[in-house]
């Protein structure tokens, strides 16, 4: 039984909820491979995609998931809205909800924006990324993709490589993978690894080759230059030499590793083209699974009777 009323972060989910989402996503993955890829489940549900931050993949993925479920979809981006005229988040959302909207998909640059909003409105909220805090649907689709390829998450070793400090993907992934019994290692320059991350029970490694030798799956994160107000490493070139995944280092490790990336890829920085496009890479599977996972989350949340 799916218990959550919102999806604000992985930390609110238990293993039963996560398994339920995965199982429902399995069904939706079959649905999106049918000749007619649409089901009428959310026919009477209106969903607004509130994006206060740029996004291509996540927004399209959510929009597609909503449309595949026959929901009515509104798209909102902060740059072309009254937010630039000084309207607050609550006012913006209340105005939209006054037009009878049932669910909100929220991306916001501030950590905790979803939690804050959930205290003020009754619509269901799905966090599509809040600052450097959480990005639950990304973590779900990453774990779902590993589970699909390896059959399980139990005892699977996952290395998350790159900019851990600014990454909401990293935090959500760590929480989710640990709940599902996987082992997690973070790898990156010490300046990009949060100080007390070992409190989360993850291994910390500064050497990429050692991390690759340890792991079954490597999730390569993008360097988030837009979130860096100071320099955390001397140059992109130097970062790429130390932490970039290339054919040479893959060959030297000499074992099968799933290569993942939440996108967008900076080719030649954290990953070279030949690795990103290699058979080990499941980057495009992640994108496909993203739609199925988001359909599952939307479906399970919309199915609950409104509380207020």
């Amino acid at each position: 039984m799916f218990k959550a009323h919102h999806l604000l972060g992985i930390k609110d989910l238990d293993t039963e909820d996560i398994e339920h989402i995965f199982k429902t996503a399995d069904n939706f993955k079959e649905v999106i491979n049918r000749p007619i890829k649409k089901v009428p489940s959310l026919r009477d549900v209106t969903i607004v995609n509130l994006f206060f931050e740029n996004s291509t993949r996540t927004r399209i993925s959510f929009e597609l998931a909503e449309k595949r479920l026959s929901a009515d979809v509104l798209n909102f981006s902060a740059s072309s809205s009254s937010v630039s005229k000084g309207e607050t988040l609550i006012d913006t959302v209340r105005n939209i909800l006054a037009m009878k909207v049932d669910m909100v998909v929220l991306r916001h640059p501030m950590a905790g924006a979803g939690v804050f909003l959930s205290r003020h409105i009754s619509a269901r909220i799905i966090n599509a990324g809040d600052g450097t805090h959480e990005h639950p649907t990304q973590a779900l689709l990453d774990a779902f993709s590993i589970r699909e390829k390896l059959g399980t998450l139990k005892k699977v070793k996952v290395a998350i490589v790159g900019d851990i400090l600014h990454s909401r993907v990293a935090l959500s992934n760590i929480l989710l993978l640990q709940k599902m019994g996987a082992e997690v290692m973070v790898c990156g320059p010490s300046t990009l690894i949060p100080k007390f991350i070992n409190k989360l029970g993850v291994k910390v490694e500064q050497n990429l080759k050692k991390a690759l030798q340890w792991c079954d799956a490597a999730n390569m994160l993008r360097i988030q230059l837009e979130r860096q107000d100071i320099r955390y490493f001397p140059s992109l070139r130097e970062y790429s030499m130390q932490y970039g995944l290339n054919r040479e280092i893959m060959n030297s490790v000499n074992k099968e590793i799933l290569i993942m990336h939440p996108g967008p890829i900076n080719r030649g920085v954290e990953i070279t083209s030949d690795v990103a496009d290699s058979p080990h890479s499941i980057i495009l599977d992640q994108v496909e699974n993203g739609v199925a996972i988001r359909m599952a989350v939307l479906y399970l949340l919309a199915g609950k009777k409104a509380t207020s």
């Binding site: 339920h20 649409k38 089901v39 399970l300």
Partner: protein
């Protein structure tokens, strides 16, 4: 709560064979016919019919699929408990085929309505027929009637019909349970 046997093992076998002979009569050689069982309980009948037809006709190529209707239900968002979806497996084209939709019990007709919608996602069949083991007549909420039915029975809305299968429940048979009072479950 009382339970009454409607079909015992022998009657059960006879009924399934009769349904198969009726199909043979109407589906010339089964060249363009496919069977689709509705999840979760219709797939057992679909498989049983497939096996029996194989024995009777020697045709080993008859295709059988399973169809889940969860995402096509009309009571989504009005139920307390969300139904859990089952697997859909249709590894063949439906375009221009004759489809026999198969379910164990026909009651309000709402499952079949959802099944028809779900099936159309896979193409446009030439003809669709409905086969059920038990038809709870006078209970329909939609204009849907079976083309083939094993046994027609009269029931009250609060009754429940339980179909058991050798492979999952240890025995073949159909029971009518009266006075359970659990209406939501009865309307499955």
């Amino acid at each position: 709560m009382k339970s009454k046997l409607i079909l015992d093992k022998e009657q059960f076998d006879l009924t399934v064979s009769r349904l198969c002979y009726q199909l043979i009569e109407n589906h010339d050689g089964f060249d363009s016919t496919v069977l689709i069982g509705l999840q979760p309980r219709g797939i057992f009948l679909a498989n049983r019919i497939n096996v029996t037809l194989n024995k009777l006709t020697g045709n080993k190529d008859l295709k059988t699929g399973s169809l889940d209707i969860t995402f096509f239900r009309d009571d989504f968002r009005s139920r307390e408990n969300m139904p859990v979806a089952s697997e859909t497996r249709i590894d063949f084209e439906l375009e221009n085929r004759k489809v026999v939709l198969i379910d164990d019990v026909l009651f309000t007709g709402r499952t079949i309505r959802a099944g028809l919608d779900a099936m159309l996602s896979f193409g446009r069949p030439r003809k669709v027929e409905l086969l059920v083991l038990i038809d709870r007549r006078f209970a329909r909420q939609l204009p849907i009637e079976p083309d083939y039915s094993g046994r027609k029975i009269d029931t009250r809305a609060s009754d429940r019909v339980v179909v058991k299968w050798q492979q999952t429940d240890g025995q073949d048979g159909v029971w009518l349970i009266t006075g359970s009072g659990d209406t939501e479950k009865n309307n499955e």
